[in-house]
């Protein structure tokens, strides 16, 4: 990261090669494949443009996921505002439908739909923990929360998911 901050393109290549796939997969979960490609681009452009904002005491991975999360939030906020302007009311989220289509039917889709029913804070904590394998300390850094706040969100989210996935659980 230090070489990259000095403008070293090879250092950027190494970071890009390592993280482009997980960042894209994360964004697919949040906004669906159609928008995830654009947001992956926005995320890595932000990494380049804002590398001067990277704190020396910070870790790269949480910072990168913070950027990806902000990009997704921005997209969702804008698309919601556009829909509100056009229709005067908030209908179902098209990003959610788009995202659901990215997963296989059956269990994957049931999990995805259950995740969509969680509040954003719980959904992000679980997605980053379960699917991106971030530790709670890293999630706390990425979401600018305390570690205990993240744990409480994840714990509540997993408990709620258990209820939402009851049918799947009983089939297993």
């Amino acid at each position: 990261m230090a070489s990259f901050c000095q403008g070293d393109a090879q250092a950027f290549d190494a970071l890009f090669a390592r993280y482009q796939r997980p960042v894209y997969a994360f964004l697919v979960r949040l906004v669906g494949p159609r928008t995830a490609e654009d947001l992956t681009q926005a995320t890595f452009l932000s990494v380049v443009r804002a590398r001067g904002r990277f704190r020396k005491d910070a870790r790269f991975r949480p910072w990168l996921y913070a950027i990806a999360t902000n990009a997704a939030r921005d997209f969702l906020r804008r698309s919601k505002a556009e829909r509100l302007t056009a229709q005067g009311d908030a209908p179902a989220d098209p990003a959610a439908e788009d995202t659901a289509a990215a997963f296989d039917p059956g269990l994957q889709q049931a999990v995805h739909q259950a995740l969509q029913q969680l509040p954003e804070g719980q959904r992000l904590a679980i997605t980053l923990h379960r699917f991106q394998n971030l530790s709670f300390a890293e999630i706390a850094e990425a979401l600018d929360l305390t570690e205990s706040a993240v744990k409480v969100r994840a714990h509540r989210g997993y408990e709620r998911l258990r209820d939402l996935l009851r049918a799947v659980w009983e089939e297993k």
Binding site: V28, A36, A50, Q108, V111, H129, A154, H155, D163, L165
Partner: protein, 256 residues
């Protein structure tokens, strides 16, 4: 959630030790958490097409070669502080034809408020641009009602001679005029990071303090109604306006 529940949560996906396994076996909450975790399958990783990977990489590398030097976050804050300070000084001097300080309130009140507003002008851009230390932005937000009360009730008490509106409008106009350039520079600076209402509010407070500083020195009208309606209220509106504009314009970067 007990301490043991927290430990089970941390160990999800790994083998639980005998103590935690025993806790998990008897704790209803942990049973549900473990159940949900185990039900969720590892998704096949989504992949970008090779063409998309190349396009994203090429664009990022081009950006990097166009701007090989990364400026630290405080550079932007320094620039914004300098613009705010510059406009505050130019405004104060430009309006000082009939004397630099026309405020008839006690000297300690005028000086105290001027120092306070000067500090806001200089420090708010740093609170806004700092990628960490979220509490500094919160502190600026908390200070707004206190500052508003200090300005409203810290005047000389003298009434508006030419009438309430005729005497007050020039103050509101001065405030708006002195806000325009610092406000737009703040917007430019705010585009460099993800939209956060508190971040935008801190920058907006700094920009709107420019006009308040000049009026604090030059306005001879000191009754609380005038100070609230023509000094504080326009300033609050400008803060809200800047946050509103920022929320609608696209970000150049989504960095925290």
């Amino acid at each position: 959630m007990t301490e043991s529940c927290g430990k089970v949560l941390e160990q999800l996906g790994a083998e639980l030790g005998p103590e935690l396994a025993e806790h998990a076996r008897t704790c209803e909450h942990c049973q549900r958490v473990l159940g949900a975790y185990r039900t969720m399958p590892d998704a096949p990783p989504a992949q970008l097409s090779p063409r998309a990977v190349d396009a994203i990489r090429a664009q990022a590398v081009a950006e990097l070669s166009n701007h090989p030097r990364a400026r630290p976050w405080w550079w932007q804050a320094l620039l914004l502080s300098a613009v705010n300070l510059g406009f505050a000084l130019v405004g104060a001097l430009a309006m000082g034809k009939h004397g630099l300080v026309l405020n008839a309130a006690p000297v300690f009140a005028v000086a105290g408020l001027a120092v306070l507003l000067g500090s806001v002008i200089l420090l708010a851009p740093f609170a806004s641009s700092d990628p960490g230390h979220r509490w500094t932005r919160t502190a600026f937000l908390v200070s707004v009602p206190l500052l508003a009360a200090a300005i409203t009730f810290g005047g000389s008490g003298s009434s508006s001679a030419p009438g309430f509106v005729r005497g007050g409008l020039p103050c509101a106009v001065t405030e708006v005029v002195l806000w325009i350039i610092p406000g737009f520079v703040a917007l430019w600076a705010l585009r460099g990071s993800a939209f956060q209402p508190r971040r935008a509010a801190a920058a907006a407070i700094g920009s709107s303090a420019v006009g308040l500083f000049v009026l604090e020195l030059h306005c001879s009208i000191g009754d609380p109604e005038h100070l609230f309606v023509f000094h504080v209220a326009p300033s609050l509106l400008l803060i809200a306006l800047l946050i509103g504009i920022r929320s609608r314009i696209p970000s150049r970067s989504f960095a925290p």
